[in-house]
């Protein structure tokens, strides 16, 4: 069988598992998968900035939160709003915030970028707590109606059923991740990496660095908004602690570091690993901090490039040992 055929088969098998997942694993793990998917997209959107453009954000939660609050507010105040427009409004909120901040943010990088995001992220957080009449303060906005997925006159699928929501979420999140992956494979993706590695040279080549940064920034903001919007509908709640807290900003940093910062799929792997760990700790121990703290320390000490980095290193070693001399170069 050719490599291509194997890939196709694997793809079809993965799709089949995804389709059958709710009936195979039951409601609880179906919901766990949705949570994983949301954080995977959120982490990927973060890594688009860090891994591909070299911009570290300590305030990515503000886009996640903007998506969540946008959708929640829309569903609370606009009666009869359908599902997809609600999602779109959430994403629009995140994008609007991105457009607002982009002119400032594209001119800086490194520590300043990280800190300015921390600052604005915290400002958003305290504002969400403070503007109680709009945001519901500490309690957040909850109990808003979740519209069915409907094509007028054709079908209407109830989104309160966990399995139905799962299909909706997996479709939306999966498409977003695919779209981001696709962008990294285009020529534009190469320019992004160029901006990370040597912005001056990119500028000499005639590409406009701030414009490139702005586009990446908006892509990251928008896709974090998708994750936040789906999260709000999934939880039927959006709150300052759950969507804007500095821990929510740190979450993708951790997920990305655990999975592997250099790779597109690292954050997804990180989310999966983290999901499994939190599933285990919540069942078997009350020492949650000890376990997650120890894992972070161990990963940084012994696998500083994340699990994917560790795997690449192991594979390179194995090749160097078993392959004939000169064949250790990566396959093309």
């Amino acid at each position: 069988m050719t490599r291509r055929a194997v890939r196709w088969l694997a793809g079809v098998a993965a799709l089949a598992v995804l389709l059958a997942y709710p009936s195979l694993f039951g409601i609880y793990f179906t919901n766990s998968f949705v949570t994983f998917g949301i954080f995977a997209l959120y982490a990927v959107s973060f890594n688009l900035l860090l891994g591909f453009t070299g911009l570290l954000s300590f305030g990515h939660a503000m886009f996640f939160g903007a998506g969540g609050y946008g959708t929640a507010l829309a569903l609370t105040h606009l009666k009869g709003l359908p599902l997809l427009p609600a999602l779109a409004l959430g994403v629009a909120a995140a994008l609007a915030l991105g457009v607002l901040l982009a002119p400032l943010m594209v001119r800086i990088s490194g520590t300043a970028f990280a800190m300015l995001h921390l600052a604005f992220g915290q400002l958003m957080y305290v504002l969400a707590l403070k503007l109680r009449t709009i945001t519901g303060g500490e309690d957040g906005i909850g109990g808003f109606p979740i519209p069915p997925f409907s094509v007028p006159g054709v079908l209407s699928v109830d989104m309160k059923t966990p399995a139905n929501f799962y299909y909706f979420a997996v479709a939306v999140l999966g498409f977003s991740v695919f779209a981001l992956w696709f962008v990294t494979k285009t020529p534009f993706g190469c320019v992004m990496v160029g901006v990370r590695d040597n912005p001056n040279r990119v500028a000499y080549l005639g590409f406009r660095v701030p414009h490139t940064k702005a586009v990446v920034y908006l892509l990251a903001a928008g896709s974090a908004g998708v994750a936040g919007s789906v999260f709000a509908m999934f939880q039927n709640l959006v709150s300052a602690d759950g969507a804007l807290h500095v821990f929510v900003s740190f979450a993708p940093v951790q997920l990305t570091m655990i999975g592997g910062v250099g790779s597109f799929f690292g954050p997804i792997l990180g989310s999966a690993i983290f999901g499994v760990i939190s599933e285990l700790t919540s069942r078997y121990t009350e020492r949650v901090e000890l376990v997650s703290g120890a894992i972070l320390i161990l990963v940084i000490m012994y696998a500083p490039l994340g699990v994917i980095g560790m795997w690449h290193a192991a594979r390179a070693r194995a090749r160097a040992r078993f392959a004939p001399r000169g064949a250790a170069e990566p396959a093309r």
Binding site: G26, I27, Y28, N31, S32, T35, V126, L129, K130, R132, G136, G137, E138, D139, G140, G142, G143, K160, F231, Q235, N236, L237, S239, D241, G242, S282, E286, R287, V288, E289
Partner: protein
């Protein structure tokens, strides 16, 4: 005894005559906790809980068992497990034609909204629990109630106090609030100052800046308006949660000339507020909900705690111990605390098994009594019994479940904190004081239920043509 104290006692007696003795309700209770039936608890150890498995009645205690607020989970667990242990030693409860033991499961929500939903769903879907018991934080209880409503299991709100949990948008017929609630707490303090104490007139509100803090303050303002129109409110401030320096707020309050500070703050805010006030030489009394934790009280000592006014859901008019059964139950707990339990359950916090812990224990007994009388773990049957049910607690207090919005109608108690020598007024058995190193409950008066009926949301269809008393 000095003169003002006598005067106060007279006022208390007079008000008793006026408003009728709270115990009058007791006779009507449909069921009661009977201390004589209590099992021998001498083998109870919260660190080595005996938890049955298999075909049991399952109660999930959803709380923070990790993180900075882990102490809250510990308090809930020992309380619920105490009641479960007792019932199990009596042989369990007859449900659906079978005697079943009570299994208590810890469910850690880590104070996180997303985690709360996840763990509550795991409890329902995988552990198949019958009851979700919760929790610290109304915003988290709201999530638990949503899960209960979605999967049709019973939820008991024993310690999240916001009225909003049972308004039109949030009400679920599967959830029952057996605790007191924000508006009635605030009103009870208003009533106390206006109708019973009639002394201080100038008040200042300092609360936490979130729904709970504002709801309490609104209740207090309503109470003052209803029961104490002569009083003036000099100001109100709301500080962010986990505030560090309260000095600026306190300085402002001091300058305002207020005589009483009303606060619903919980620890650590409550502790920082009290300690910093006393350090600044501000001796004003706090009319409070959570300034009853003994570690905190000992930090400011007898002087710093005298005159605090505390509203309690597990108080008693006058002496706390009225029947031999009550004394026996108290001693069962206190002896074990003295002799048996290791950390973290051997600190002052767990000494008495009364107060909030007493309330959580008794609320759990109510739940178990309802299940027993329903003769089933079927939620529909439980709902049928619990609505309109009334239950007499160990200390004689009666809780009645208002059927239309599932809130408990109950007398509340307002307690004044006095030095150890005077605590015998409340702690009426040897050694005649609650704590030797701090002021604690002395004179305690009942605020009759009809003056502080829990808030009812009239737009809730089920309550449309009901009176607040539930008729």
């Amino acid at each position: 005894m000095n003169l003002p104290r006598q005067a106060l006692t007279l006022v208390v007696l007079a008000s008793l005559l006026l408003f009728g003795v709270a115990d009058a309700q007791a006779a009507q209770a449909k069921a009661a906790f009977d201390p004589d039936k209590m099992a021998d608890m001498s083998d109870f150890d919260p660190n080595k809980p005996v938890i049955p498995t298999g075909d049991t009645i399952k109660i999930a205690v959803v709380a923070s068992f990790s993180g900075p607020a882990a102490v809250v989970g510990q308090i809930y667990f020992i309380s619920v497990q105490w009641a479960a242990h007792d019932i199990n030693k009596r042989g369990g409860i007859m449900v659906d034609g079978k005697r079943k033991l009570v299994e208590v499961i810890k469910a850690n929500h880590a104070s996180q909204p997303a985690e709360t939903k996840k763990v509550a769903e795991r409890m329902v879907l995988q552990e198949k629990v019958n009851v979700l018991w919760g929790t610290d934080g109304s915003h988290l209880m709201k999530i638990i109630n949503q899960v209960a409503d979605k999967y049709k299991v019973i939820a008991q709100s024993a310690s999240a106090l916001s009225d909003e949990l049972y308004d039109t948008t949030n009400f679920s017929r599967y959830s029952f609030m057996s605790s007191f609630s924000t508006e009635q707490i605030g009103r009870a303090i208003g009533f106390y100052y206006g109708k019973i104490r009639k002394k201080e007139k100038k008040f200042y509100i300092l609360g936490q800046d979130y729904l709970f803090g504002h709801s309490l303050a609104d209740g207090f303002k309503k109470g003052l308006k209803e029961y104490y129109p002569e009083a003036t409110l000099l100001g109100e401030d709301y500080h962010p949660l986990f505030m560090k320096d309260f000095a600026p707020y306190l300085q402002k309050i001091k300058a305002s000339g207020a005589e009483v500070i009303f606060t619903g703050d919980w620890i650590p805010d409550a502790e920082n507020l009290l300690v910093q006030a006393r350090q600044m030489g501000i001796k004003l009394p706090f009319a409070n909900l959570f300034l009853d934790e003994p570690n905190m009280l000992h930090r400011v000592g007898v002087d710093g705690t005298t005159g605090l006014v505390h509203v309690s859901q597990y108080g008693a008019e006058g002496g706390a111990f009225k029947t031999p059964g009550q004394i026996k139950a108290y001693k069962a707990w206190n002896t074990l605390w003295k002799t048996k339990w290791g950390p973290p359950y051997n600190t002052r916090l767990y000494e008495h098994g009364t107060g909030n812990i007493g309330s959580y224990i008794q609320q759990t007994y109510w739940l178990l009594s309802v299940i027993e009388r329903a003769g089933s773990t079927d939620p529909e049957k439980i709902i049928k019994v619990w609505e309109n049910d009334s239950y007499q607690l160990l200390n004689g207090k009666v809780l009645t479940m208002r059927s239309c919005d599932h809130k408990a109608i109950q007398d509340l108690h307002v307690e004044e904190y006095v030095p150890p020598a005077k605590q015998r007024e409340s702690f009426n058995i040897p050694p005649y004081f609650w704590y030797e190193g701090t002021s604690s409950v002395g004179p305690s008066v009942a605020i009759p239920a009809r003056y502080v009926l829990p808030k009812m949301d009239k737009s809730l269809a089920r309550c449309k043509d009901k009176s607040e008393a539930g008729e």
